[in-house]
């Protein structure tokens, strides 16, 4: 039974010993090699995240894409402690949550079930080269999806093809490449006739090589990916055969290029003896790219060109503007239109007029009050300044008057409160203008991609043969035509 990779042929549900990704939010995904407790290894690993803890037993045997609630791991630990203390029949660990059904099914294991935590959730998604690229442990600079997708298209990596990848690094491109060339696992019956796709991966750095090799095994890809620890500058691409697409992510790609020769009885190189071969060299600096291009031309590759991929991710949001938004979160309270601004200004003018009128009236009253209204005089005395006394007094007086009915009808606080009340009834998710912009984090340069193609081999011998064949074919056709003409006549 060949191993089945969750990348290529995922099972319907999450299963033990396969890779699953715990998606917390868009750019936060945690890989987990799921482990089911077995009699020999009863441990139940727990994936601890910012958004709660997920024991593997709660993630197993779920359809892909399921939303899983976090578990309250601490509660179980406490319970377990209590259980030991009491040593009582406590076979009813209450609060069996929905996510712990499997645990309940195994009563032999007298572990209390995990409780769902009060908050926190994650989605369990199948690994794809894209999600893996977003979650993989970085060992080197990663080849991101926009680059990888374009490169694989241009180097014509297709099912059944053999690809060289040198400078495997973190293995992100490895996974994307294997998806392109995969057309079945080897050694499963009808293999003699079938040409299966394969990725030959080379890595010079030993710890990275080890890490990648382990990953490939864990991901069930060891039948379709060969990882080698080798120095391709010195040793070339030994072991690779019939290759038609090459991806070089090396500091000095030109030093490896001379090893890219065709295979066959005379040459014995890694490339396919007949088919065109496409190459992409991936280097961040222009000097590297230039030397790579020069070397390719020198070695007889054609269509040598260079490109750079610029990708932008775009965020979409609703922009709400207007005075009705004042006091709400995440908005700027600016009048939406000139009309609204005029309205607000007129309102203010009106209020000022009312205020001034009141003040005038009160001033008159004050003038009368000088003759013996002690209360007012006391206020003035408290404020300490005789000259401003009247104004201060009226201020307090005025606020006192209004506060009897709660907030002043036109005051800012009242306005904000009204806005908040109104917002509850509004459908904020569909209000405002739909806008889009580039996301704050922008990759302006990843690498220069140097492409080239080695056309099918064509020797003098081939040429003379082709000329002869073409002449023979022509003769044949002429004879055929003559025959037809004879018959017709």
């Amino acid at each position: 039974m060949p191993t089945s990779s969750p990348f290529l042929t995922p099972c319907a549900t999450t299963t033990s010993n396969t890779l699953a990704l715990i998606s917390l939010k868009r750019d936060e995904t945690i890989p987990a090699l799921l482990h089911a407790p077995t009699p020999t290894d009863p441990s139940d690993p727990i994936a601890n995240t910012r958004f709660g803890s997920y024991p593997h037993s709660t993630l197993l045997h779920l359809p892909w894409g399921t939303q899983v609630a976090a578990s309250n791991v601490g509660a179980r630990e406490r319970k377990r402690g209590k259980k030991r203390k009491l040593a009582e029949v406590n076979n009813n660990p209450a609060n069996a949550s929905t996510t712990t059904a499997q645990e309940d099914e195994t009563p032999a294991q007298e572990e209390p079930a995990f409780e769902a935590a009060a908050s926190g959730f994650a989605h369990i998604v199948p690994p794809t080269p894209e999600t893996w690229t977003a979650s993989l442990p970085h060992r080197t600079q990663v080849v991101y999806t926009p680059d990888a997708s374009y490169i694989l298209q241009r180097i014509r990596a297709r099912p059944g093809d053999k690809v060289i990848e040198a400078g495997a690094g973190s293995g992100s491109f490895t996974h994307a490449a294997v998806r392109c060339v995969f057309n079945g696992y080897p050694n499963s019956g009808d293999d003699e006739k079938v040409i299966r796709g394969r990725v030959y991966s080379f890595e010079y750095h030993e710890p990275r090589f080890q890490a990648l090799q382990n990953e490939i095994k864990e991901h069930g890809l060891d039948g379709v990916v060969t990882v080698q620890h080798a120095d391709v500058y010195a040793q070339g691409f030994s072991g690779a055969q019939d290759v038609t697409a090459i991806f070089l992510d090396l500091p000095a790609p030109w030093m490896a290029m001379s090893h890219l020769t065709r295979g066959g009885p005379t040459q014995g190189g890694p490339l396919h003896s007949d088919r065109p071969v496409c190459i992409c060299s991936f280097s961040p600096c222009i000097e590297q790219a230039q030397r790579a291009a020069a070397k390719l031309r020198e070695l007889g590759w054609v269509d040598v060109g260079m490109a750079a991929v610029q990708q932008r991710r775009i965020e979409v949001r609703r922009e709400r503007i207007g005075l009705m938004e004042e006091g709400l979160r995440g908005v700027t309270a600016v009048p939406a239109t000139v009309g609204e601004a005029l309205g607000r200004l007129r309102e203010l003018e009106g209020k000022t007029a009312v205020f001034n009128a009141k003040r005038k009236k009160n001033d008159k009253r004050d003038k009368g009050a000088i003759n013996g209204h002690t209360t007012e005089m006391d206020v003035d005395a408290r404020s300490g300044t005789v000259g401003d006394g009247a104004v201060n007094g009226h201020h307090e007086n005025g606020e006192d008057m209004m506060s009897k009915k709660g907030l002043p009808s036109g005051s800012k606080q009242q306005r904000l409160k009204n806005n908040l009340e109104a917002a509850k009834a509004r459908k904020l998710y569909k209000e405002g203008r739909l806008t889009h912009r580039t996301e704050p984090e922008l990759k302006t340069h990843t690498s220069y991609l140097v492409f080239g193609m080695l056309p099918p081999e064509w020797t003098e011998e081939d040429e003379t043969k082709a000329v002869a064949e073409s002449l023979a074919f022509e003769k044949q056709e002429v004879q055929k035509r003559d025959k037809v003409e004879e018959v017709e006549s």
């Binding site: 998606s23 908050s119 080269p129 298209q153 297709r158 230039q290 610029q310 056309p455 056709e477």
Partner: protein
């Protein structure tokens, strides 16, 4: 090994010629025909047969007694030295120096000269931009062209020689001049096989709106995010009887289908004749062999012909399939003919797409009982009556029956869902498409939507926005609380919630643009011009199965937020609904997984 892997040209092949001017021209290699490539000349197809694809050919001059011009395979070294226009890379400055000594005396004044008298760089101060510098007149050039010698090389040489101030040109401008003249006068072409990339480039130049201006980089993104790949060779993966079923809505004339099919290994027909080193692809054969049994089991109501009819394999594959949903009675997949496939044409029955490409109308998908073909099987006929019929009538009966069976089978399997991905490049409103098709994708599957302009996709992003999802979940929760039937109310909310926003995870909108560079020694820079038009945007998301019951998001960790929210509750028991899990919402989820 399939068709596209064959390197030698055979009679009947489709090909695309790339001309020196960069133009693409699709041709068919019909024996005994002459193919004219305009001012670049003409050649006889027979001289291409047996020669390799991918190579560049010079049209040689007619020799005495020859009826047709011969072709010469241009060696790679020639092609490269012409692009460079110099024989060496600038790291070796020897030739520049030799040249410098001769030129130094004559052109001293307008060169940047080093202390030892060598020219460091020519300068263009004194170049004159005037057509009078070319001594040859237009008629003279025409005559040269008609004389047609040396595949156009001689014309170029003569033109260059007649240029009165060639020596004044800087090295770079001379290179550019030579290249420009080569593009104009070289009698040369490159033969490319039909591949998705080449066909896309050809249509892009000719009629870009036909393929929704789908750039190669966007196509790459779409194909990658759709996770389309070959379904493999396992008989059965645990719990997954079918592998690799992709659903497509394609308004690009079949380019999208072709791209996915290429990734799945079902685009190119197996090579018609075995080449000594090559083998036919047994996967496709194996599938085809397996199909008749299955089909017969479903159609054994009638006593069908005992020998397997190739027509029975039509759209009968169950794994590694593409299902196209189309708005008209017939899908527009006309570009597939470049790859040797014509829909419903039995002459294509050996093509992998014949059994692996399914098509279904929106009506058959959403309301099959209203579709005549689906709901009206031809009346059952017993064997005797059948035998008494005229062959033509019998044939018609079987044709109808087959059509009905096929339609029913495709519609039923499509309606059952469980697709691996949904890929959309359509002029239709994305939300209306996704509303019906997202539920048919299995959990963890990918949803990809392409649009030439961004507005349809910003709208879609908005329908899946955090705020809207929060509101949707709140609404569903209220409905459950008040005992309303969740399903029946769905239609009322179409305006506010055209799609169920809880079914997709991590919606993302992106665009990508490739900048081509000229990379020549000392002259490396991005190309000065490139194609404008729509950028092309790609929406992608993962189909998920929202939890049934109450799930609360973990609160935001920012201090400010905590301070705000903890007014009523202790910080440890923070249970804030509709507060994002930093950026992702959860709140209460109702099992509305359609």
């Amino acid at each position: 090994m399939s068709w596209n892997n064959r390197t030698r040209i055979k009679p009947g092949d489709q090909a695309i010629l790339k001309l020196p001017s960069g133009l693409l021209k699709p041709i068919e290699i019909k024996p005994n025909t002459i193919i004219s490539i305009g001012k670049f000349g003409s050649f006889h197809t027979n001289s291409l047969i047996g020669r390799p694809f991918w190579r560049t050919y010079d049209i040689l001059d007619l020799k005495d007694g020859e009826k047709h011009a011969r072709l010469r395979v241009v060696p790679a070294s020639d092609l490269n030295s012409e692009t460079l226009s110099v024989d060496n890379t600038p790291q070796d400055d020897a030739p520049v120096k030799e040249d410098a000594e001769a030129a130094a005396s004559a052109n001293e004044k307008f060169d940047i000269v080093g202390e030892d008298g060598s020219i460091i760089m020519r300068n263009n101060r004194l170049t004159v931009d005037d057509t009078s510098r070319q001594a040859l007149t237009m008629t003279e050039i025409e005559e040269l062209k008609n004389a047609g010698t040396g595949s156009g090389k001689e014309v170029i040489a003569k033109i260059m020689a007649a240029h009165s101030a060639l020596g004044e040109k800087t090295e770079f401008s001379l290179a550019k001049y030579t290249l420009r003249k080569s593009k104009k006068f070289l009698k040369r072409f490159t033969v490319l096989p039909m591949e998705v990339g080449t066909v896309a480039e050809y249509i892009m130049d000719k009629d870009s709106s036909r393929i929704m201006e789908l750039r190669p980089e966007s196509l790459g993104l779409v194909a990658s995010w759709s996770n389309a790949h070959h379904a493999g060779n396992l008989d059965q993966v645990e719990g997954n009887p079918t592998q690799g079923r992709y659903m497509v809505v394609d308004d690009t004339g079949g380019l999208l289908v072709a791209t996915l099919a290429e990734r799945m290994g079902i685009l190119y027909p197996p090579a018609s004749e075995k080449e000594p080193t090559e083998q036919p692809d047994p996967d496709t054969n194996q599938d085809d062999d397996a199909m008749p049994d299955q089909v017969e089991s479903t159609t054994d109501a009638h006593s069908g012909p005992s020998r397997p009819n190739p027509k029975d394999t039509y759209q009968a594959a169950t794994s590694n399939t593409i299902t196209v949903i189309h708005p008209h009675t017939q899908p527009n997949l006309s570009l597939l003919r470049y790859f040797g496939y014509i829909l419903e044409d039995t002459s294509s029955s050996s093509h992998p797409l014949y059994s692996h490409l399914h098509n279904i109308t929106w009506l058959q998908l959403l309301d099959p009982s209203a579709d005549t073909v689906y709901s009206n099987p031809p009346p059952a006929v017993d064997a005797d009556t059948l035998a008494s019929w005229k062959p033509s009538k019998r044939g018609q009966h079987f044709r109808k029956l087959r059509r009905h069976t096929r339609t029913q089978r495709v519609a039923d399997t499509t309606r059952a869902g469980g697709f691996d991905s949904l890929v959309v490049a359509s002029f239709m409103q994305p939300a209306s498409v996704l509303r019906h098709l997202v539920p048919l994708v299995k959990g963890g599957g990918q949803i990809v939507v392409y649009s030439p302009s961004i507005e349809p996709l910003t709208e879609l992003m908005d329908y899946y926005s955090r705020e809207r999802r929060g509101a949707y979940m709140k609404m569903m929760q209220e409905r459950v609380a008040t005992g309303l039937d969740v399903e029946t109310c769905m239609d009322d909310e179409e305006e506010d919630f055209p799609v169920n926003p809880t079914l997709l995870l991590n919606p993302m909108l992106q665009t990508s643009r490739v900048v081509e560079w000229q990379v020549l020694p000392g002259r490396t820079h991005p190309l000065m011009t490139s194609r404008g038009g729509p950028e092309g945007y790609v929406f992608s998301a993962t189909r998920v199965l929202p939890a049934i019951g109450k799930v609360n998001a973990k609160g935001n960790f920012s201090k400010k937020r905590k301070a705000e929210e903890t007014v009523s509750e202790s910080p440890k028991k923070l249970r804030v609904e509709h507060v994002e899990q930093t950026k992702e919402t959860a709140a209460t989820v109702v099992g509305a997984d359609a």
